[in-house]
């Protein structure tokens, strides 16, 4: 079995059978897993440090939002930190300087991220593949510049000492444990929005675009509008994650707007499994916990992250969750005696024409699954 067909299988796992082939059972399984996950998380603070858990949850939401774009829309954004980081500033500023209640501050962050997403998205979706990645990177660098310069962000000191005001005036979040449940609720809400989107007709169209854009166009879908909507939704939820993080750490800083942060979210999603529902959560948990364990050894964190990147790309491109799902499916596949999908011979050498770039612009791990579905 060549790598190519492994990849094809991965595409199938992530998008094909589970979601559309056996919609009802797949969805139910996902919901059950999610319920177990949330139930586990409710008791987790008894054993694990709540701040660490909250950090994981914020990044998990961020990665899930990012995954919506790459895993289901096939768009690799290399500038998602702009939504995450900028929303953190907005919520921090509105809460600290304007005295917004916490919940309103978080919503303000998400709302501004949505507007930013609309602007950035309408520019970026006109390009594909690497060019899409580059446009988002350029825009993110401009947002970074703005954050460095604008007086309200406090430059590299960031916005410090963001107060934790009671949510709705009654829930006292100054205690970490209480705040944890609030963050868990935000995460669950964000996750369910993404999950619902993936399984909605909208999500199906999105997948169709990823698999074969030309075909989606010929079927009469306003492809750009779908992409833009996905982009805005992803930006909004990234903003929600960033705004929540600002409340948790009582701090909004430049770190969250740098291009390295954009790279980190790609890593989380890649490690967990692009285009899988739970992959980004697992990826975020792995990376955050790893960073946490390695504090005190800054350069080794870098080396370890690099190694994870390399190993994931070379050995298990489906990511942790993707591999597990694939394993389960292979077992089931053996029962069904279904032959593995044969991928079309693809450009063995680097494709020379821009058409090659375009085809692969449909990016993501499932680029090769196009032939399977057609």
């Amino acid at each position: 079995m060549t790598n190519r067909s492994i990849l094809a299988a991965s595409g199938r796992t992530s998008s094909g059978r589970t979601a559309s082939g056996r919609p009802a059972s797949g969805r139910n399984v996902e919901l059950i897993v999610f319920a177990v996950l949330v139930a586990g998380l409710t008791v987790a603070p008894l054993m694990v440090y709540p701040i660490l858990l909250m950090k994981v949850l914020c990044f998990a939401l961020f990665a899930c939002a990012f995954n919506l774009l790459i895993g289901y829309g096939g768009l690799l954004s290399f500038g998602h930190a702009m939504f995450f980081g900028f929303a953190a500033y907005v919520s921090g500023y509105t809460i600290k300087a304007w005295g917004f209640p916490t919940e309103l501050g978080i919503l303000a962050g998400a709302a501004v991220a949505a507007v930013l997403g609309l602007v950035a998205g309408s520019i970026a979706i006109r390009r594909q593949g690497i060019y899409f990645a580059m446009v988002t990177l350029a825009l993110a660098q401009m947002v970074f510049f703005f954050c460095l310069q604008a007086p309200f962000t406090g430059g590299e000191d960031g916005i410090q000492a963001i107060p934790r005001r009671p949510i709705f005036g009654v829930i006292d979040i100054s205690r970490d444990i209480v705040l944890f449940y609030v963050v868990l609720a935000i995460f669950a809400a964000g996750f369910l929005i993404i999950w619902r989107t993936i399984h909605s007709p909208f999500g199906q169209v999105l997948k169709a675009i990823r698999e074969n854009e030309a075909r989606a166009i010929s079927l009469g879908y306003a492809v750009d509008r779908f992409k833009l909507m996905a982009f805005v939704l992803s930006a909004t939820l990234s903003g929600l994650a960033g705004a929540t993080k600002a409340v948790v750490f009582q701090l909004a800083s430049l770190t969250d707007v740098t291009w390295q942060m954009s790279g980190e979210v790609v890593l989380m999603t890649l490690v967990g499994g692009m285009g899988t529902v739970f992959g980004p959560i697992v990826g975020a948990a792995v990376i955050v916990v790893m960073q946490n364990t390695f504090t005190g050894f800054g350069e080794w964190v870098l080396v370890a992250q690099g190694c994870i990147f390399v190993l994931t790309v070379l050995l298990f491109r489906r990511g942790i969750v993707g591999e597990i799902v694939a394993l389960a499916q292979r077992r089931r596949g053996e029962e069904d005696a279904a032959p593995p999908p044969v991928a079309e011979p693809a450009d063995k050498q680097p494709p020379s024409d821009r058409g090659g770039v375009r085809a692969s612009a449909a990016a993501g791990p499932s680029e090769a699954s196009a032939p399977v579905s057609s």
């Binding site: 701040i51 460095l148 430059g155 590299e156 009582q250 504090t295 005190g296 050894f297 350069e299």
Partner: protein
């Protein structure tokens, strides 16, 4: 409760023969010192593992002299110069790992964040590495002491000393972020107060690689002094490139507003010669200092300690004294109050005091980098050209706007 008792037993077991005060009450039987700094980035050489070593050394020396009756541990962490990471480590240390005091912490943004958390958790934060003078100004805290230097002191010391020696007209090369702006603002104020004149400034992006364009603008201004209101790699590159473009040979003078001995080591004397800046501590000024530096070098790849690392040693020595006097490390505010009441005295920084706003007061030195032929070898870099007495070195108590000062 049980834990405390056990801890107490352990502590008692440790100090055979030393009379432990009956009241001794340590939060968990252990004094735990967290060295939080940059272990891998720009400031790793001037703080990093060297500060951890200095902290351990301070404990060793203290326990030799005083007989410690409790267990003292050192942990360290890397904040990567990012406020959120630093804040995360600080919180975890206080919440989970029972750290009682955090020391060092260069990078102003991280220091501000850690100071706020320390206050919230009522622990102690002794900063040696960061510059921001807000830490003892508007952002001051009863749980905080600023040990070694601050931006106001650097700006004031460099600015006034250079104007006095004839550098009347200035041009600033400023890193375009809050820290750079603060350095530039404070220095410009001093220069103008002393009768000098600021001819102009250029703000460069942070971080930058190439300074030639900015240096050319500074050269064109014909100012006598070019003030480098930046830090770390930016300062190193500006000095290097200034030498390349013959700025100093052209008769202009460079004034580093935040330079450490490690920077001089990285640049080399040939390029750095003639640079003037402020040091709070220099290894080659007394026998005690030289002995400390020798031991430090043996443990740290031959490097000599920076003023930040020496400050960590001094701060911990004083902290341990206060905790011993109190017999408790439980209440951060009380420990800091005790530290402020007691005059400081250690082998590296000598005698000094701590003000109500948390500012540690001592003499500062204005140094000039030696010419290669004047230097006797590696790390013999500074010529001390003036001493700024403690009373004048730091911002007057009333000017900081610290709410603790009534």
């Amino acid at each position: 409760m049980k834990k405390i008792l056990l801890g107490g037993l352990a502590a008692a077991a440790l100090c055979v023969g030393s009379p432990a005060p009956a009241s001794a009450q340590f939060s968990d039987g252990v004094i735990k010192i967290g060295v939080l700094n940059d272990q891998s980035g720009t400031y790793a050489d001037l703080s990093g593992q060297g500060s951890v070593w200095a902290a351990r050394k301070a404990i060793e020396d203290f326990c030799k002299a005083q007989k410690c009756f409790e267990k003292i541990e050192v942990v360290f962490g890397d904040h990567q110069n990012k406020a959120d990471i630093g804040a995360g480590v600080a919180r975890r240390w206080y919440d989970v790992e029972q750290v009682d005091v955090i020391v060092d912490t260069p990078t102003s943004s991280v220091a501000l964040a850690v100071s706020q958390i320390t206050r919230e958790k009522n622990k102690v934060f002794l900063n040696s590495g960061a510059g921001a003078s807000e830490l003892t100004g508007t952002a001051c805290s009863p749980n905080f002491i600023h040990w070694t230097y601050d931006t106001w002191a650097l700006a004031n010391g460099t600015g006034s000393a250079i104007v006095k020696t004839g550098g009347k007209t200035w041009y600033f090369l400023t890193a375009d972020y809050a820290f750079g702006h603060a350095l530039e603002r404070d220095t410009a104020a001093v220069v103008e107060k002393m009768g000098g004149k600021v001819l102009g400034k250029v703000r460069h992006p942070f971080p930058a690689q190439d300074f030639s364009s900015f240096l050319l603008q500074a050269q064109a201004s014909k100012a006598q002094v070019i003030g480098l209101a930046n830090a770390g790699a930016d300062t190193i590159n500006s000095i290097k490139q200034a030498s390349e473009f013959g700025i100093v040979q052209g008769g202009q003078r460079l004034a580093g507003l935040l330079v450490f001995i490690n920077d001089i080591h990285a640049i080399g004397l040939k390029t750095a010669q003639g640079l003037t800046f402020i040091e709070a501590w220099y290894w080659d000024t007394s026998d005690d200092n030289r002995a400390f530096a020798k031991e430090f070098a043996a443990a740290n790849k031959g490097n000599r300690p920076s003023m930040v690392q020496a400050g960590v040693y001094s701060a911990i020595t004083h902290y341990l004294k206060a905790v011993h006097a109190l017999g408790s490390d439980a209440d951060g505010v009380k420990v800091v109050e005790k530290m402020k009441e007691t005059p400081t005295d250690d082998k590296l920084f000598g005698k000094g005091t701590i003000r109500a706003d948390g500012r540690k007061i001592h003499d500062l030195m204005l140094v000039e980098v030696k010419k290669p032929e004047e230097s006797k070898g590696p790390w013999d870099y500074h010529k001390i050209i003036a001493t700024i007495p403690a009373a004048e070195a730091f911002r007057p108590l009333a000017d900081g706007g610290c709410p603790l000062v009534k």
